[in-house]
């Protein structure tokens, strides 16, 4: 279960409306490498994880990603809240506007709604942790491309914070993977054990 704290993990205080930037940042809300995908992925994978360290890592990073989802939603909300219809139209956000007004909806910048097909729960700890390492890198890269598109310090600072968290999560998942590999007695190989039905019978 969860409890809610009435405070963000990192402050979001964006003075100037910028619907063009909101349209891009929404990808970290409902896009393929966004925070919703991250939290759903980790919180679902934990049920079939092994070793206390790796289970806790999925549980707690999955939880932190929910706080990040809230930060990204706050950014989108503040970037569009005081934007005029003219600005929204000019930013090419009019398609989004007719479907959602100024609401925050989990989609990517081209309007494709969030899809759980962008995550996997394979039920195998090595497979899942390997995906998680890639996911953190994809999210880091996305924040970097977003930073390339941003010029407002009010937007840049929270994006930088979120990017840094991806780096830390990547580190923790790497440690978890090593612990799980030791546990499975496959200390140095990034390979999968052969399932029983593929083994030669003699």
């Amino acid at each position: 279960m969860w409890t809610y704290d009435k405070i963000l993990e990192y402050p979001v205080k964006i003075k100037n409306p910028n619907p063009a930037m909101a349209k891009l940042i929404i990808t970290q809300y409902g896009g393929p490498d966004g925070e919703l995908a991250a939290s759903l992925r980790y919180l679902s994978q934990r049920f079939s994880m092994v070793t206390p360290q790796a289970i806790a890592t999925l549980n707690d990073i999955g939880t932190e990603e929910l706080a990040h989802l809230e930060i990204v939603g706050s950014m989108v909300n503040q970037l569009v809240k005081n934007a005029s219809l003219e600005e929204i139209k000019k930013a090419g956000m009019d398609g989004y506007y007719v479907d959602h007004d100024k609401g925050v909806y989990p989609s990517n910048p081209t309007g494709i709604p969030f899809n759980a097909a962008c995550i996997q729960v394979k039920g195998n700890p090595i497979v899942d942790l390997t995906e998680d390492l890639a996911a953190e890198q994809k999210a880091r890269a996305t924040y970097e491309w977003l930073l390339n598109m941003a010029d407002d310090p009010d937007v840049i600072e929270p994006l930088k914070f979120l990017r840094e968290r991806e780096v830390v999560h990547y580190q923790r998942f790497g440690e978890a993977l090593r612990i799980v590999q030791d546990f499975l007695q496959e200390p140095h190989l990034f390979i999968m054990p052969k399932p029983d039905f593929m083994k030669k019978k003699d």
Binding site: T3, E9, P11, K15, Q53, I61, E64, Q78, K81, I179
Partner: protein, 90 residues
């Protein structure tokens, strides 16, 4: 206005200490026998509790499960964390 300044200062401290906890706890998940990190984490817990109690006393509920509410039910008071007014510039 001065009250608001104090509230934002307290929020800032709560966020900072929460961040130390978040980061140390993720670290401890994969390094459960690091005594130094554990001691640090436990000392931040103490600080965190104090700051949150102070916030609850002066500025309202920060969570539902561990703070008293005056009448009427205070939890529904705005602003919510995602709003401009609830935040501060770093």
């Amino acid at each position: 206005m001065k009250d608001n300044t104090n509230m934002m200062e307290l929020k800032k401290q709560i966020m900072a200490v929460h961040f130390m906890l978040e980061d140390l706890q993720l670290y401890l998940n994969t390094h459960p026998t690091d005594r130094e990190a554990l001691a640090k984490r436990n000392s931040y817990v103490k600080q965190y509790k104090m700051l949150r109690d102070e916030y609850n006393k002066c500025f309202g509920m920060i969570s539902q499960d561990d703070s008293f509410s005056p009448y009427p039910w205070q939890w529904i008071e705005e602003p919510w964390p995602w709003e401009y007014e609830a935040n501060f510039k770093l």
